[in-house]
Amino acid sequence: MDKTEKSSPNEEIKKEIESISDQLCFAVKGEFDFFVEIHSVDESIQKLGMLINFVLDTVRRSFSEITEKNSRLTELDKLKSDFLANISHELRTPLTLILGPLESILKDDSLSLPPKQQENLQRMHRNAHRLYVLVNDLLDFSKAEAGKLEIHEELIDMKAFIAQIIDDAQGIAEERKLTLTFAAKSHLGLLLFDQKMIEKIVLNLISNAMKFTPEGGKVDVRLEKEDNFITLSVADTGNGIPEADIQRLFERFHQVNSSQTRAHEGTGIGLAIIHQFVDLMGGKITVESKEGKGSTFTVRLPAREPSADDKVNTQHKESKQYSSPIKTSLVHMGKKSVPSDQIVSLTNERPLVLITDDNPDMRAYIASLLENSYEVIAAENGKEALEAVYKYHPQVILSDVMMPVMDGYQLTQALKADPQTANIPIILITAKAGKESIVSGIDIGADDYIPKPFSAAELLARVRAALRLFQSHATLKNANDELTKEIEERKKLELANAALNDELILAARRAGMADISTSILHNVGNVLNSVSVSLELLKESMDNSHINKLMNIGKLFNENISNISSYLTQDSKGKLIPQYLVALSQNVEKEFKISGEEIENLRNYIQHVKEIIATQNSLSSTSGLKENISLPNLIETALKMTGSTNEINNVIINKVYSFDKSVLVDKSKFTQILVNLLQNAKESILSDDNNHKKEIAISIEESCENNQFKVVVTDTGSGILPENITKIFSFGFSTKENGHGFGLHASALAAKEMGGQLIAQSQGKGKGATFILTLPSQNNKKKKLNSRDIV
C-alpha cells in the first residue's frame, strides 16, 4: 500500500479486505501454500489476517499429510498388485501340473478305479480347476490394475455362445430348484468381442444370481441389440442387495456383508473384474436391486461388426469347446454331495456330527472322513444347520465360517444363546487363518477352530476332543440335574424345618412367658401379702398411738394451768410428767421409725410390683436390647420379684458377689432367667419336707474364659435325678407336679440368645442342684439360633 496516499480509514479497510480476498483467490487452484500478507495498521484486520493464516496453515498441513499418506498407500497398493500378479502366475504352473495328470487319469478307462477313488479324484479335479479359475481371476485382476489387460477380439455368435453357457448351467439350476431362462432377439449376427471376457462376465453374473436366489426362484437372462450396443441382463428373484452396498458393489475386494447375501468363498474380485472388463470394452455395467425382491445386472457393450481389415477368429461356431470349463466352474456351487434328506435313517448307536458348509465338495470330503466312526448329517448354511440341530440333536457341529444366508459366526451365536444347544461343541472351519478371525470365533463362543487347509488326522482329532467335551458336559449336566433335585428337596425340607423351628421358638417363648407370668402373679401376691402385713402394723401402731397419752398430758396441763410450775415441781403426778414426756417422745420416735420403715417397705413393695409389671412388659418383647447394668442390683430385683430378699419361709439366701462390675446384658432376658432359677430353687427346697438346711446360694464370678461372667444358683433342694440332668432343658420336660416344662427350656433358650449358656449340675436326688448361667460380659455378637440349639 502506498503510504503517502491519503485515504479515509474506511477506504483503507476496504482496500485491505480486497487485497486479502485477492490473495485468497489462490485457493481455487487447490493449493494452499501461501500466506495472506497484511499491511494494515488496523488491529481488527491484523487479527483477521492472523486467523486466515492459521486456517490456511491448518489446511496446508492436512493436505500434505493426506498427500503423503496417499502416496504411501498407492505405493503399497502397487506392491500388493505386483505381489498378486506374481503369486497368481506362480500358482498357475503347479496347478496345471495337478490338473493335467488328473485329467489323464480320469479319462483313462483302462484304469478301472474303485468308485470311491474315482469320486475322490473327480472332487480333486473339480476343485483344482476351480482354484485355477480363481487364480486366473486374480491374474486378470492384477493385470487390469496395472493397466496391462488387453482385449483380444474374435467374431462371436453371442446368442449361441450365451445359450451354450445357459445350457450348461441348467443342470445346476435344476438341482437348486431354480428356473433359469434365456431369451434373445432372434438374430444378432456375428460380433467382435473378447470371448474370454464375455464368458467371464456371463458366468460370473449367472453364478452370482443362482447363489443368491433361494429354491423355487427364477434367473432370467436376456440379450438384446439396439443400435450399436448389445444389452445383456441377468435378473434374479433372490435376496437383493442392501442399498448401502450397491454403491461399493464393483469395488475390488468388496463383498456384500449382509448375512442374506454374503458371498460364498469368493475372492471379492469377481464383480470388480467384470467391471474392469466392461470398462475396457467401452461399456457400462449397472445394477438395480430391491432387498427381498431380487437384483438385475445389466451390461451394455458397444457392438462392433467386423470390417474387412479385422483379423478374426472363425472358430466361433465350435462353442462346445467352452462348455467343459464352464460346467466345472459352476458345478461346485450346485451339487449337494451330502443332502440333508439322507439323514432320516439315523441310528442312535454312533455319535451324530453335523457338517455345515456351502461347498458340496467340502461337505462330501469331511463326511467321507467321519462316516466310519460317526453318523453324519449335513447342511448348506447356518440356517439349515440350526433347523437340523433342533431336529436331530447332534453331539458335534463342524461349520464353515463364510456361508450365505447365515454364516458360521451367526450360527455359533444362535446356538450358544440357547441353553438347550449351548453345550453342543461347535468347531469352526475357515480359510481365514488370521488371529483376528480365531479371536472373533472364540469370542462369540465357538469351542474350537480349524484353519484350512487341514489334515484328515487333525480334523478327526478335533472332532474326538469335541465329542469328549460334549460327553463330559452331558455327564456334568446329569450330575448337576440330580444335585439340583436333591438341593431342591433339601431346601423344601429345610423350609419345613425352619417353619417348625419358628413355631417351636414361639411356643417356647410363649411357654416361658406363661411360666414367668405364673411366677410373677405369685410374687405379686407375695408382695401384696407383705403390703397387708405392713398396713396392719401401721394400723396397730396408729391404734396404740401415743397421741392419746399426749392428749392426756395436755389435759393435765390445762387443769393446772394457773399453778403450772408448782404442779410440775410439787404435785406427785405432775413431778413425773417431764420424765414421762422424755420417755414418751422416745417411744414416739421409735414408733415413727417403725412407721417410716413400714412406709418405706410399702414403697418398695409398690416399686416391686411396678418392676414386675415392667419386667412382664419387657419380657413380652423379643428385642435383645442390651443395657449396662449392675449385676448385684439385677439379682436383688430378681430376688424381690421371687419374694426372697434375704430370708423368706426360712430359706436363707447366701450371696457372694465377687464380680460386681456393670455389664452389657439384655435386662429382660437376664431377669427372666434369674427369676426362673430362683423360683425353681425355692420351690425345690420347699417341696422337700425332710430338708433341714434351706439355703439358696447365689454367686457372681468372673469366668477365666474370655470376657465372661457366671451366675451360679445353688440350692439345697430336692436335686435332679442323673437320668433327668440331660433332659432338664428340653421343651416340655418337668419334674414338678404342676410344671409345664417350659421355664428352664425358655431360660436356656434366652441364655443362648444372649450368647451364653445355662447348665445344670446335681449330685442326685435330695442333694440339691446348681445352675450355672455363663454370659459374655461384653457386647458379644448375638448367636444365631438353629433347631439343634434349642432341642
Binding site: 500466506f35 497484511i38 488491529e43 491484523q46 487479527k47 489476517g49 492472523m50 493464516n53 492459521f54 490456511l56
Partner: protein
Amino acid sequence: MVGLIQKLFFKMAYELGGEDAVISIKKEAGVPVDKDFQINIVYSDEEWQRILAAGLKILNVTPEQADVAYADCFAKDALERFPNWFQMSKNSYEFLLIQPTIHNCFATAVVDANERKDINDKFKVDKLKNKIITHYVSPNKLCGLYKALAEWMINHYKDEADIEEVKCLKKGDKECEIHIQWSKLNGQPVEA
C-alpha cells in the same frame, strides 16, 4: 516475540507511569521511541528481553510483581480481543488445554518455517484427568508469566487449582514443567 506482547507491555507501562515511563523504557532498552508494535508481526526475542529488563527498572517492580500486573493487563485485553476463545472453553482447564494452539495461531503469520517452529514449540500440554502438565521451553524464560496467567484464568472461571512448577529453565532444567491440579471446576469439586 509476537508484537502483541510488547504492545500490551507498553500499555501496562503507560497505565502505571504514563507516557514518560513508556519513553524511558524504550530509551533504556534502546528501542526507537516512535516504534510501535503490531499484533501480527514477530519481533526479536532479544529486543523483548531488553524491554522487559528496562520495564522492571523504570517501573521499579520485582519480576514477580511485573508478572502479576502484566498477566492482568494481558488477559483483560485478550478477553476483549478474542472473546470466542473464552466462550469456547467451559472452564480454565479447557482454556489452558487450547492455550498452545492459540499461540500457534500467532505463529502461522510467520513465513519463515524455523522461526515459526520456535514459536510453535514453546508450549506442550499433557492432558490428564482434572490436571495438566505444561512443558515450556523458551529463551524468554517467562514461566512466571505462565503461572500468573494460569492463575488469572483459574480465577476468571471461578475454578480452584494448585499450580506447582517442578522443573524450571531458570534453575538450569531443560524445560519448565508446570503441574496444574484442579480441585474445583464449574463450581463443582473434582477428584484429584
